[in-house]
């Protein structure tokens, strides 16, 4: 019976049931909350679980179709073929539009269920509202899938073999990159739901900030890791030696990250001091709106061309309506309710509150800069005003300008007391570090290559400034109190991650060397004391490709230190050539080689790179992620604390936030 009906149809059916449940989830608990009807409120949690069950079934059904090569499913036949390895058949599920929507919905259901399970400390009314808001988002996504982008659509007659997944996407880094990114994007829906629920209930107090803080931080951690993985993949796989391209796809994930970073800092102020309440709500709405925008602009094809909308108007119109409903609806609610929200805390101009406010302003400025650079070409194109693209120097310049105040502030902020502080006191604490950072900033680049560049000096100084102030703050805290909260460890790690990231970026941008050249077997090229010796190529046979593999010896001072084996692959199933770079990695430098083309007679064009300290960029991302995870593990989030603002003790010199 099942074989006749087909597992894909069961998957489709499960999706329809999940859709019905999501409608139920988004209405009944809200009505219950309004009427104070316990029975209706109690629907929320089981509905969230049931929704997860059915979306999970649908997801399993699509995965099964990929695994057993069920090419009668259109989506499967478009994104996998018989020779594709199992791992990439499983990851092929989210290789394109329909499947990534399904993954998005599944992750949304996972977050919804997580809120349902880990919210025993929260008032049931609040939980009901939060889950209902998440249910509404789910209604949007499930209906989008069911009405415009059904992943289970059949094709008749079924083809004997499918079209392979783009070979670029057949990489472990990219296989796990979208799920991580989505965990982050969708995770912001929790902060969004808490904010909207609080607006509905008209109760925006510090407790609300305390509830949404761990969720936001963990979502932010996933997003950080997801972006880091994407960057690492681009470096390994694209063969251009770059780690960030200011590509619209990357920017789409970076905007929510910037706003999310602002949000976790603003939430700290709201929780600790009861300030910036309505601002925090606005950020929560903004972070999730940008996540939605990111999902859509990447997956709808609008980036390839705004005219993708014209070829499939149903999807385009749906996306626009959905975005308008979410953004417009939540902003309208905000406008209506924010009046009732008043911030209770008071603070002087020189205080932790001001520092965090500045942090927010700077991060938001950065987000606006990325937004403009990313969307301006799309807008121009949409109105037929010309075809342009915004070059990389724009983004680089903007970020260099934004980084200086942001990183300066990062060093000072944690030393400033809540409410009010004396600038002279903080200056006295930090002046030595400032001198050390500036001195090293001037000396290190000089030692490195004997010349001075302002940008390099500033970058090195900023990284050292951030690292030293963070460690010093940690030391002060460790000396003054017996119990070090995990959240403080988290902040320290995350800020050290920033330092690591900045030093990595500075070195890569200042001291990288790259060279495209023609190499004959036996010839060599020396780059920054490293000698690349090209020995020639040989043919190798992969599971679904054949490759010319180059053999390159790496020598330093005449001694063999490693070998590189870059490949030029031709995927047999689609006759696509692909460059597989080879990298000799190290904490302080990467040596990187990519094959160009065969130039006849055994000679090849090769691209060689020397990338100093590039690992520190991703190390920074990992540290930030770990910092977020540690902060969330803090036990105060697991305790049922009667929190009173007034009872907040006078702040010590360094407090966690």
């Amino acid at each position: 019976m099942i074989s006749e009906l087909g597992i894909p149809e069961l998957g489709h059916f499960a999706l329809i049931i999940a859709f019905a449940i999501s409608i139920l989830l988004s209405i009944v608990p809200l009505v219950g909350a309004a009427r104070n009807d316990a029975a209706m409120i109690a629907v929320a949690r089981p509905a969230a679980l049931a929704q997860l069950l059915f979306v999970g079934l649908a997801y399993a059904a699509l995965t099964q179709a990929f695994i057993v090569h069920n090419f009668s499913v259109l989506y499967v036949s478009q994104h996998s073929n018989l020779v594709q390895p199992l791992m990439y058949r499983i990851s092929g599920v989210w290789g394109s539009h329909e499947g990534s929507l399904l993954l998005w919905s599944l992750i949304l259901c996972i977050w919804t269920t997580a809120v349902a399970v880990y919210s025993r400390n929260l008032p049931d009314v609040m939980v009901a509202r939060v889950l209902a808001v998440m249910g509404m988002i789910s209604v949007g996504f499930l209906s989008f899938m069911l009405f415009t982008s059904n992943p289970f659509e059949r094709i008749f007659p079924a083809p004997a073999d499918g079209n392979a997944l783009n070979p670029l996407l057949q990489d472990p880094g990219l296989a796990i990159h979208p799920p991580m990114l989505y965990m982050g994007y969708v995770g912001f829906s929790v902060a969004f739901a808490f904010a909207v629920a609080a607006l509905m209930g008209g109760k925006l107090d510090a407790t609300w900030a305390r509830w949404s803080r761990p969720w936001t931080t963990i979502a932010w951690s996933f997003l950080t890791l997801g972006i880091g993985l994407g960057s690492w993949w681009a470096y390994n796989e694209l063969g251009w030696g770059g780690w960030w391209f200011w590509d619209p796809v990357e920017n789409a994930s970076f905007m929510p990250w910037l706003v999310g970073t602002a949000l976790i800092h603003s939430l700290a102020s709201t929780e600790k001091r009861g300030v910036f309440k309505s601002w925090t709500v606005l950020l929560a709405i903004l972070a999730f709106s940008l996540s939605l925008l990111g999902t859509f602009i990447v997956r709808s094809g609008v980036l390839v061309s705004v005219h993708a909308f014209a070829t499939d108007p149903a999807r385009g119109v749906f996306i626009l309506i959905f975005l308008c409903l979410v953004v417009g609806g939540s902003l309208a609610l905000y406008a209506w309710r924010a009046e009732t929200v008043s911030s209770s805390g008071r603070f002087e101009w020189f205080s932790r509150e001001t520092a965090l406010l500045l942090n927010n302003v700077i991060l938001l400025t950065a987000a606006v800069a990325v937004f403009v650079g990313t969307l301006y070409p799309l807008v121009l194109d949409a109105f037929a005003l010309g075809k342009i693209s915004v070059g990389r120097p724009y983004f680089d310049t903007m970020f260099a300008l934004v980084s200086v105040p942001l990183l300066s502030l990062l060093g000072i902020g944690p030393f400033v007391r809540w409410k009010s502080d004396n600038p002279a006191r903080v200056a006295k604490q930090l002046r030595l570090i400032l001198v050390i950072a500036l001195a090293l900033g001037a000396v290190i680049p000089f030692v490195q290559n004997g010349s001075l560049s302002l940008a390099t000096a500033l970058g090195v100084a900023a990284a050292i400034w951030v690292a030293l102030t963070t460690l010093f703050g940690f030391y002060l805290r460790w000396r003054s109190s017996s119990r070090m909260p995990l959240s403080f460890f988290g902040m320290t790690l995350a800020h050290l991650g920033i330092a690591s990231f900045v030093i990595g970026v500075t070195f890569v941008m200042s001291y990288s060397t790259e060279k495209d050249l023609r190499m004959e077997p036996g010839s060599s090229y020396t780059m920054d004391n490293y000698e690349f010796v090209f020995l020639g190529t040989h043919q190798i046979q992969g599971p679904n490709y054949v490759a010319d593999e180059g053999m390159i010896e790496l020598r330093k001072d005449g001694k063999l230190i490693g070998e590189l084996a870059p490949q030029k692959r031709v995927y047999t199933d689609q006759n696509n050539a692909m460059t597989e770079a080879s990298i000799d990695d190290g904490l302080f430098r990467d040596l990187y080689a990519a094959m160009g083309e065969s130039l006849g007679g055994g000679a090849w064009s090769l691209r060689l790179y020397y990338k100093p300290m590039i690992r520190w960029i991703w190390l920074g991302c990992i540290l930030m992620t770990l910092g977020g995870v540690l902060a969330v593990s803090d036990r105060r989030y697991r305790q049922r604390v009667k929190h009173s603002l007034r009872a907040e003790p006078a702040s010590p010199a360094v407090t966690s936030h």
């Binding site: 008071r346 406010l357 500045l358 800069a369 342009i388 693209s389 495209d516 696509n576």
Partner: protein, 155 residues
């Protein structure tokens, strides 16, 4: 500044200040870094900038790719099926660069009036056509149709 009104005022001022700075910096950095797209027809007509970098797209003419034997210099001809223009490039071409395929090149005109590409982009799969190239080709096609129908009218 400790009053609620004062704080709100400060917040508004700070945000406005940030946005203002962003706008000023953004616009100046922006204008310099906008890369306009031209088709070979537009380049032939002299519409493309003489000194600034711009992007040009079209199909790589079959049989036009010439490689130097001892360097990485490559020459090829780009066409939008109306006009064509030579492009020179030094370096490694992307995996999907092929004769007959649509590509986008970024670069400047040299003194001799030849386009020197600093970057050549060919993306995605073999069926993919850069949207700008597709539009340029379509413009040519439409013009051809118009000319065709005008001819039939006169007959």
């Amino acid at each position: 500044m400790s009053t609620k009104r004062g704080r709100r005022k400060m917040l508004v001022i700070l945000v406005l200040f940030g946005v203002a700075v962003a706008t000023v910096l953004g616009l100046s950095a922006f204008e310099e870094n906008l890369l306009y797209f031209y088709s070979p027809t537009q380049v032939k007509a002299g519409e493309a900038p003489k000194t600034r970098a711009f992007r040009v797209g079209g199909l790589v003419v079959k049989g036009s790719v010439v490689r130097a034997s001892d360097t990485l210099n490559v020459q090829f001809v780009l066409t939008d099926n109306t006009e064509s223009m030579p492009v020179s490039y030094s370096g490694i071409l992307p995996d999907l660069f092929r004769e007959g395929q649509g590509i986008v090149a970024m670069g400047t005109m040299n003194v001799a009036g030849q386009f020197v590409a600093s970057e050549v982009l060919a993306k995605h799969d073999e069926n993919y056509m850069p949207p700008e190239v597709a539009a340029a080709l379509k413009a040519t096609e439409d013009k051809a149709k118009q000319v065709g129908s005008a001819n039939t009218n006169t007959l």
